[in-house]
């Protein structure tokens, strides 16, 4: 009996799990100049701003990360602009990423990862929320590097430092939002947790950077003569410290200052691929004829002169079928493969989920 299908046996189907990593390089100019801020989307509520890789009004633009800023309830609220919104942002991020203590209160971010004391509590934080497009399933540990200018004006930044989750491959912690690692200013600092300047939540794709990483002088975008985001009557000078800026500037202004000090950003993401591999075993006595209309002329096979010649076919496609003969998946070979009774093949089709 002629037949077109061959059943897959138990040994022909194998499930595997593979971790794929992609390198994500983001140059600082994307966030601070290439597109003249047309790729920066701000909102009337002023609680965060979004960075795109292209002017966001274009359908080609991809959202790459959000920037925001928050403070704890313990931080001084005296003369702080947008104090409620800054606290709301902090609490929202903290409750999602750090959870609650035994009294049901929201935990504050703690830079040294020790939650049972106040040491290392981060009262003023910048938040970088990376889009899922970049993070995929998670950020690969010990791959995060963030080049920041610690001081100077946005026009003349100074003191480049490379923050990173150094040594996080060996030491990381867990939170309600998954694993997190400590961010240090250099690999040498990674042995001393008290020198941590932030936290990186791998599965959530959020970096929490303490504002203390910045040094004086510190200013928002613009110069003393051409301030961009500084409200009327508010001086934006090189002598302004980060502490002063945190009080006087809005979340949007602080986010602008941050992204104009971003030199570069690199990390590897992780994609969990669950695969099913189908081994399509083609024995020597199988699939040697074709139902292709060109295979026969006047019903006579065009690849044969006489009955004793070997039949020949050429494989270009593999179809995977359900029990009721519906095509579930299809695989194409990059070039035809000759099949005749003298050859056997195993075609390995992998479906990723």
């Amino acid at each position: 009996m002629a037949k077109s299908f061959k059943s897959l046996l138990g040994d022909d189907i194998k499930n595997t799990r593979t971790l794929l990593h992609e390198a994500i390089p983001i140059t600082g100019t994307i966030s601070s100049g290439t597109y003249a801020d047309n790729n920066i989307k701000t909102f009337s509520h002023g609680m965060f701003e979004s960075v795109y890789d292209y002017p966001y009004l274009s359908s080609s633009a991809n959202h790459i990360f959000d920037l925001s800023y928050g403070i704890t309830a313990q931080a001084s609220s005296s003369a702080v602009t947008q104090v409620a919104k800054k606290r709301n942002i902090y609490n929202q991020m903290a409750q999602v990423l750090f959870g609650y203590d035994s009294n049901g209160k929201i935990r504050s971010f703690d830079s040294d990862g020790t939650l049972d004391d106040d040491a290392g509590r981060m009262d003023h934080c910048f938040f970088l929320n990376f889009s899922r497009l970049l993070c995929k399933d998670e950020i690969k540990k010990n791959s995060f590097r963030l080049g920041l200018f610690q001081s100077g004006s946005t026009a003349a930044p100074d003191t480049l430092v490379t923050l990173g989750d150094y040594d996080a491959g060996n030491e990381f912690r867990t939170s309600p939002a998954g694993d997190y690692g400590l961010i240090f200013s250099s690999s040498g600092d990674s042995s001393d947790n008290s020198k941590s300047v932030g936290l990186l939540f791998y599965q959530a794709g959020v970096a929490v950077i303490s504002s203390s990483v910045f040094q004086s002088p510190w200013s928002p975008p613009g110069t003393k003569t051409t301030p961009i985001h500084v409200a009327a009557g508010l001086a934006a000078t090189l002598t302004s410290s980060i502490a002063a800026a945190q009080k006087s500037l809005t979340i949007t202004q602080l986010a602008d200052g941050f992204r104009h000090r971003l030199y570069d950003l690199d990390f590897n993401n992780t994609i969990e691929l669950n695969s099913t591999i189908y081994f399509c075993r083609v024995n020597h006595n199988e699939f040697n004829y074709s139902a292709n209309p060109t295979y026969a002329t006047a019903s006579k096979l065009v690849v044969k002169n006489q009955a004793t010649d070997l039949p020949i076919t050429y494989i270009t496609t593999i179809g995977l079928y359900s029990p009721d003969n519906e095509l579930m998946a299809v695989a194409k070979l990059s070039e035809p493969i000759r099949k005749d009774p003298n050859t056997e093949l195993t075609l390995r089709v992998r479906l990723d989920y």
Partner: protein, 409 residues
């Protein structure tokens, strides 16, 4: 779809089809892969040169250079031709499927007319027209204009209109009314080439597909090897437009599966759809029957002088969907429309072959009782061209049958 890069190692480009994704989304366990098939859609075996002067190494040089397209996600666009497993290697002839579109004059059975073996829709002209396509001359001569489509009239008025058109006034017998009467009177011969695509119908033509070796090099008496015979067929059609209907009863066949593109699949392996009749006529004691074009099993393989062995056959009719029967919406969406008022009398009208008879108008009536209930000149002609695919379940051989759904409204 682009071509795959074939400059380096052989790679596999695998995707889930739309049906596969649909079943995964359903989450009911229907996404299950249990078998595989191999295809060679891109291959043109005509490029295989078994007489190449440089030797056998060059026979398939051009075949192996054929670029391969990326995988389609549409499940019905892939694996149109499958590779076939047969344990023996000495097969030199392989059967094909062929529409048996020979018009047969012999009435099948007594009483109410049964659908005749399938025939393409053509306009019948005066007697004595030279035969074409192997049809005998005489009263059943066909017009030379080949439409090569099966017509499905979606309602009785359309069926009558097409019947009248097919046998225009004063061309045969007692006059214009005759063929109209014959087409829907119990006991009379139905109009061929037009299927009654509405409910409650026993008239009209059907579609018949035969399997066999299309060669004169093997005698029909030799028969078709058992491992080459089809034991079942798969019929695929657009479920928005039609349903598979019994060739001899007003029975709609239950559909086996409808995919996300509304393509319905029917698995057919039993009577009245499936028949082994052609092979049963392979009697060496009555060799003439092999070439009898007027028998109930007209031969389509080989030619008049020699006929190839035959396998099984498939018979079916098409019933139009309720949407087509009761509305012109789909006709306007995926079909075409022709205003007969403006084209009446023109030499050619889209949807109907040849010129229409301008001497008749519906108001005068054709026969007593005014069975032809409308004035053709006041109607619009709607039609949709589509195909019905028939696949041999064993060999995987497939053919596409052209269908035209027609509605006068």
């Amino acid at each position: 779809m682009a071509f795959l890069d074939n400059s380096g190692d052989i790679i596999l480009d695998a995707v889930l089809t739309d049906t596969g994704r649909l079943r995964m989304a359903q989450g009911d366990g229907s996404f299950k892969i249990t078998k595989f098939a191999l295809g060679d859609d891109e291959i043109n075996y005509g490029l295989y040169n078994k007489n190449h002067a440089s030797g056998s190494a060059y026979y398939d040089l051009e075949v192996l250079q054929i670029p391969v397209l990326e995988a389609f996600t549409n499940n019905t666009s892939n694996l149109k031709s499958k590779l076939v497993t047969m344990s023996r290697t000495n097969v030199l002839y392989m059967p094909i499927l062929k529409i048996n579109a020979h018009n047969v004059t012999t009435a099948i059975g007594a009483g109410k007319p049964q659908p005749k073996p399938s025939a393409y829709f053509r306009r019948r002209t005066a007697e004595g027209v030279t035969a074409t396509n192997g049809f005998p001359e005489g009263s059943n001569a066909e017009d030379k204009t080949n439409i090569d489509k099966f017509y499905v009239a979606v309602d009785i008025d359309t069926y009558r209109g097409l019947s009248y058109y097919r046998a225009p006034k004063n061309t045969e017998g007692a006059g214009a009314a005759e063929h109209l009467v014959q087409s829907d009177v119990v006991g009379a011969e139905p109009t061929t080439g037009v299927m009654e695509g509405f409910q409650g119908s026993n008239f009209g033509g059907m579609i018949r597909v035969d399997q066999g070796l299309d060669t004169t090099e093997i005698s029909i008496a030799q028969g078709l090897d058992s491992d080459l015979r089809e034991s079942a067929y798969i019929v695929e059609l657009d479920y928005r437009l039609g349903r598979l209907k019994s060739p001899s009863a007003n029975t709609i066949k239950a559909v086996n599966f409808i995919d996300d593109d509304n393509i319905a699949s029917y698995f057919v392996s039993q009577t009245p759809y499936f028949s082994t009749t052609p092979e049963e006529t392979n009697s060496e004691t009555s060799p003439d029957v092999y070439n009898n074009f007027n028998s109930t099993n007209p031969q389509v393989f080989g030619n008049k002088k020699g006929s190839g062995p035959r396998g099984t056959s498939l018979h079916f009719r098409i019933e139009a969907s309720a949407e087509l029967r009761q509305s012109t919406y789909l006709f306007q969406q995926v079909g075409q429309v022709q205003d007969l008022t403006t084209t009446y009398g023109a030499s050619g009208i889209a949807g109907l072959p040849g010129a229409i008879d301008t001497t008749w108008d519906g108001s005068s009536g054709l026969i007593a009782g005014d069975k032809f209930l409308f004035n053709l000149t006041e109607k619009k002609l709607y039609y949709i061209d589509t195909t019905v695919r028939v696949i041999g379940a064993n060999t995987g051989y497939r053919i596409d049958i052209p269908i035209r759904y027609v509605k006068l409204a």
